[in-house]
Symmetry: C2
Subunit: 336 residues, 2 copies
Amino acid sequence: MASVTLKDVAKVAGVSYATVSRAVSGSPEISEDTRRRILKLCKEMGYTPNSIARSMVKRCTNILGLIVPSLNNPFMSELTADLEIYARNRGYNLMVCNSSYDHDLELEVFSLLIGRQVDGVIMIPVGHEPYESLSALTGQVPTVFISENMQNYPENYVSVDNYRGMQIATEYLYSLGHREILYFGARSDSKTHELRLDGYLSSCKKLGLEPHVLRSSYSRSSREVGYTLASDYFSRPHSETAILCAADMLAIGVKQAAYEAGIRIPKDISLMGFDNISFSALPEIDLTTINQPTQQMATSAVDMLLDHIRNPEAAHGQLILPPALIERRSCRPIKS
Amino acid sequence: MASVTLKDVAKVAGVSYATVSRAVSGSPEISEDTRRRILKLCKEMGYTPNSIARSMVKRCTNILGLIVPSLNNPFMSELTADLEIYARNRGYNLMVCNSSYDHDLELEVFSLLIGRQVDGVIMIPVGHEPYESLSALTGQVPTVFISENMQNYPENYVSVDNYRGMQIATEYLYSLGHREILYFGARSDSKTHELRLDGYLSSCKKLGLEPHVLRSSYSRSSREVGYTLASDYFSRPHSETAILCAADMLAIGVKQAAYEAGIRIPKDISLMGFDNISFSALPEIDLTTINQPTQQMATSAVDMLLDHIRNPEAAHGQLILPPALIERRSCRPIKS
DNA sequence: CTGAAAGCGCTAACAG
DNA sequence: CTGTTAGCGCTTTCAG
């Protein structure tokens, strides 16, 4: 599979290979005639520019690294799709790595991507980072995080307003008449999740509610975790009339457990999520939730990253996007 | 972000940079002493090998291209995750591109990946290819397809046995007493889907059933398509007792339409899918379906691709994996 | 406008 | 075992 190079084309065209290079890369300092002639020849000979060689001299690859905990979570796979498409439209390809919710792996693939000479990396971090190790890496290549986990660190990030999102959720449930609201799946290993919990707590305080928090010791918010936690919860006495989940996938797991426990949603208990993954819109799921503007997060993250690649001295950017209530039918009003 | 190179290390170590190269790349022809000394120095100086430069001379990048129609379909995003993790364990990174179910884009990103000098590409093709254009590309780089779409072409592929899968599905519905089974969402733009339809038709013949086929003119099998087609179907008179969908996502769309039309599943009509995406296991979906062994497909595809990269002259490989019935509760027996 | 030549960071002969 | 050297394919001065 030996490929044809600039030199080959140059030989046939009877020009120096610098000229071919100029024709191909659209340099202005070349006559229209020769450009056309050479471009035609390139096509005939099946010449494909070798971007490795180009990267070598231009000292940039037009490749972005993406580190994502899991592609099995629709929120992340949808985000990944948006990131890839938008980045490609801006001339960048994505090298995707799963961190599998593992801090060590996260660092490992980050180093790997640096060795690959990616121009920048976008990372959805697992949670609270061993920040010293991470910052050694982010110091080497422009990085944008998608999440609020980096809130207290000098890093670029874009995120939905997690704190405000959970306030909206709590206020909504309150407005429906709920007074005992269980916050489900709180994680202390992630700033994002802390902020969500804090949003809930602050609303409780403001509304005069007693907070009820069910903590999770798992480092991911999957359906399985939601199911496990909820099965346990439903098996014991409980007084709450609504469950506010830290993520849609948790809520879907809760539904499953509720189903098996013979508890009907929203008849017996109301249920809310956070993320608004596409499956939450299914009539069988029909989950009231808080929307994360994934598409906007994707484009903003890429834009922010490219800005920093162009101007590495720029100040760190923080972009917090507004969440929105998506009202469906998993919550019902309570008569007081 | 100027990085430290072999030369820098060599200068400090007081050796030639070839020696450093040998130390780093684990060449045997170097004394343990100097290796240790140099490796230590590399770490101290924060040296990261530049894999671009390495690729340049080794004429291979250890990068695989992946072309996938969409990451919003859980079947594909789960497959992508499996591919990435397995490939990385074998020393390869994945450059992922969405073709967005678009033939032209498919070819475009393929060329792009070739320009990127990927060592191989894995592609989940959209459907019937303009094969002439595609083969010009697959001739340039080892390629493995995931799907049976390439069955009639000299290409590598791994796939589930789509034909047999639909036979199993049809036989299962028959065994439940169904005699009027609607095959839902047949597509003629994809060999994979033709085979599924043929599997259904062959079983109909064998079992003495009259085939009922609802064709789709869409080039993807999404929830939206299933919903649209089914809404139309339910609005008109129909006699079938079971709907056999060409894909789980279609079935999920059908459920949605059924729900809105007041048709209960499986009470009023039985429903089956194909793929066994993780969401089909949810109690609210609870879809009887045919399993595709995604993980095995992923590892096999990577293995097959790496074999061909190592030995490009090898014969084309075809691997057809067995499908399996996943019995859940979206189908019910009919009394005759 | 075009050609010649240097070099991006690294590997792989080839000598010593 | 270690150093020297010639490229990998391309861009980019610098001359002409």
